[in-house]
């Protein structure tokens, strides 16, 4: 059974990974109701009606993709800042609820910075961002030992372009479900 779930996840994750960064970011809000068959209109012609089916299959709850698609795995930060915006707090409230529903799952919060800082300072800044996320999740009741942090500084941009938009996407804290914790979950 578990392998089945994992297989679905891996397939979905593979498909997911094929999309560009822009696709991924844009699909965030709309993906919330991806479980329902999203009909995008019907066409009547010569007695045949066709319905466009959602390309996205239902997401099994409690999986990493459930977390990414239905909760949102990341929050963004202002330039050289590590405080949480109201929008970020909303995302993290969702993450905390999800983590409280799936109590055996542990996560790693990765803090990232844009390319407009120096390498070592950005490592420290990424650490601050990851800790901001972690502390907020703990304040909402998630057990501290379920949340590890890591900073990648400016080493792992999601968008490699040198634009304000790309930099805004890259200044982020990403909560990732630890795959190892799935194997011990029910």
């Amino acid at each position: 059974m578990r392998f089945g779930i994992l297989a679905v996840f891996l397939t979905a994750a593979t498909l997911w990974g094929c999309g560009s960064t822009a696709d991924r970011e844009a699909s965030g809000p709309a993906a919330g109701d991806a479980g329902a068959a999203a009909a995008s209109g019907t066409t009547a012609g010569e007695g045949i009606a066709s319905t466009e089916l959602s390309t996205q299959p239902a997401v099994p709850p409690g999986t990493p993709e459930d977390f990414v698609v239905n909760v949102g795995d990341r929050v963004h930060f202002g330039f050289d800042r590590f405080d949480l915006t109201e929008e970020a707090r909303g995302v993290l409230r969702g993450q905390a609820e999800w983590l409280k529903r799936h109590v055996s799952i542990t996560v790693t919060v990765a803090g990232h910075a844009d390319e407009r800082g120096t390498r070592e300072y950005n490592l420290a800044l990424g650490e601050r961002r990851a800790i901001s996320v972690r502390n907020f999740l703990i304040a909402l009741g998630v057990e501290p030992d379920r949340i590890r942090t890591v900073s990648y500084g400016k080493e792992r941009p999601v968008d490699p372009a040198s634009t304000e938009e790309a930099w805004a996407q890259n200044r982020r804290g990403v909560t990732q479900v630890d795959i190892s914790s799935l194997r011990v979950s029910n």
Partner: protein, 450 residues
């Protein structure tokens, strides 16, 4: 290992050359000395002739040719010398034991002449000797003989180039040194980074790590046998020490948080680094023998990028305790932190010069990055180069040249251009790209080899 002795007094000057020189000597000021003042801004490179070193047999001659080539390339890259095209030489390389015919070298406007000899000896060792001549004064400036194993021929060539540089500029050289840096490949989002090492002229390039783990910010120990750096082994960013001779690496200490931004103290006994605890980065010193750790800063701000002064008494570092990144100097034990950067913008990556007189830094202002230098008290700031992204200066062992990396802006939709290494004179002149097999960042210059 390598032995050398100074050659004996120069031989009597030949009369023909003397007669010719006499006329010229009158036009020159008394006691004129061949010298390049490298403290001035842009200097006209000194024309120098470096003919192939002589060899009596083909094997020796091959070494002679290669040694002369390495010397000429070192001198040329410094920007202070202009080796003259060999095809212009009038005089065939002559016996080093005989006084050169200076008139022939003056005709092609060589101000200095380096001639030499290579010989593979009976016992298989390589002997190399050279003399540096002031062509217009018709005087030998220096002469040295080296004996070593033949595989050291490049080292000998770099040491000869260092001697020439030192004799003519009055500053110690930097050619017998190496550079460790981070080799980059793969897409930006999943960049593969490996430690690589090479001689400062790009020779003897090799990789030290496989690329399995992300590695950053390598720095040499003062003995240049060890490198401390950051590695993400098991996705845990921690400081490691790598031994170049044995190829072994070990993690420095076992701390709960990330350790990063490591640098050896000038005496090699200590690694100074940052450690993050609950989001707060402080600077610590670890004694490499006892493994005891001391905390040097205590502030809720980010404190990182420490670099110790060559006398070991003070430490320069990066902190945002004022609200944005600035450069601070404090006592080596941690007290008396004082902000020294006050110009417009943010300041980062301070590195104390090996001469102690300057601190190099990265500056970020109005969306552009610069490499600059200032005195340790913050006065005398000079910007050497500015671009979309230049970062991470490292000093040549003589404190006259800096290396750093430059990354061009990535245009939307276009392939992202990777970073490359560059060097530049302290004067802001003679910027040169350093040839590396692939993209390169985070250079660190070694001390002079012993």
């Amino acid at each position: 290992m390598k032995t050398f002795r100074h050659l004996g007094p120069r031989r009597p000057i030949r009369f023909a050359a003397l007669a010719c020189a006499a006329a010229l000597a009158m036009a020159m000021p008394a006691n004129a000395q061949l010298r390049v003042d490298i403290t001035r801004g842009k200097v006209e490179p000194l024309p120098i002739a470096v003919p192939d070193f002589q060899g009596e047999d083909p094997g020796s001659a091959a070494y002679g040719r290669q040694v002369a080539e390495v010397i000429a390339n070192d001198l040329a890259r410094s920007g202070l010398f202009r080796p003259i095209d060999k095809r212009a030489f009038i005089q065939a390389p002559a016996d080093i034991g005989v006084q050169p015919r200076f008139g022939d070298w003056r005709l092609i406007n060589a101000q200095a002449l380096v001639n030499g000899l290579a010989r593979v000896e009976q016992d298989g060792r390589l002997a190399v000797e050279f003399r540096l001549w002031d062509v217009f004064a018709q005087q030998q400036m220096i002469g040295t003989r080296y004996r070593t194993t033949p595989d050291n021929w490049r080292v000998v060539a770099h040491r000869i180039a260092d001697k020439i540089y030192q004799r003519i500029t009055g500053e110690s050289g930097y050619f017998d040194s190496r550079v460790v840096y981070v080799d980059e490949s793969g897409p930006a989002a999943r960049r593969i980074k490996r430690l690589a090492i090479m001689d400062q002229d790009g020779a003897n390039h090799r990789y030290l790590t496989s690329g399995e783990h992300l590695v950053l910010t390598p720095r040499f120990s003062p003995t240049e046998q060890e490198i401390t750096f950051l590695s993400f082994v098991n996705n845990r960013p921690r400081v490691y020490v790598y031994n170049i001779d044995t190829g072994q690496q070990e993690v420095l200490g076992d701390f709960p948080g990330m350790t990063f931004a490591p640098r050896f103290s000038p005496d090699g006994t200590t690694v100074i680094m940052s450690m993050a605890r609950n989001g707060n980065s402080e600077i610590y010193a670890m004694d490499l023998r006892t493994r005891r750790v001391r905390r040097l800063t205590n502030h809720p701000a980010i404190d990182t990028s420490p670099s110790v002064s060559p006398d070991g008494k003070r430490l320069v570092f990066n902190s945002d305790r004022s609200g944005q990144q600035q450069i601070y100097v404090m006592d080596i034990e941690g007290g008396n932190a004082r902000r020294v950067s006050f110009g417009d913008g943010r300041y980062a990556t301070p590195v104390w010069s090996p001469r102690g007189d300057l601190v190099a830094f990265t500056k970020i202002n109005r969306g552009r990055f610069s490499i600059g230098v200032m005195r340790p008290d913050g006065t005398g700031e000079r910007i050497l180069v500015t671009d979309f992204l230049v970062e991470g200066p490292t000093w040549a062992p003589n404190g006259r040249v800096l290396m750093y990396f430059r990354q061009p802006r990535a245009r939307p939709g276009a392939k992202r251009p990777g970073p490359r290494l560059f060097s530049i004179d302290l004067t802001g002149h003679n910027e040169r790209e350093i040839d590396t097999p692939r993209d390169a960042s985070d250079p660190a210059w070694s001390p002079l080899k012993r």
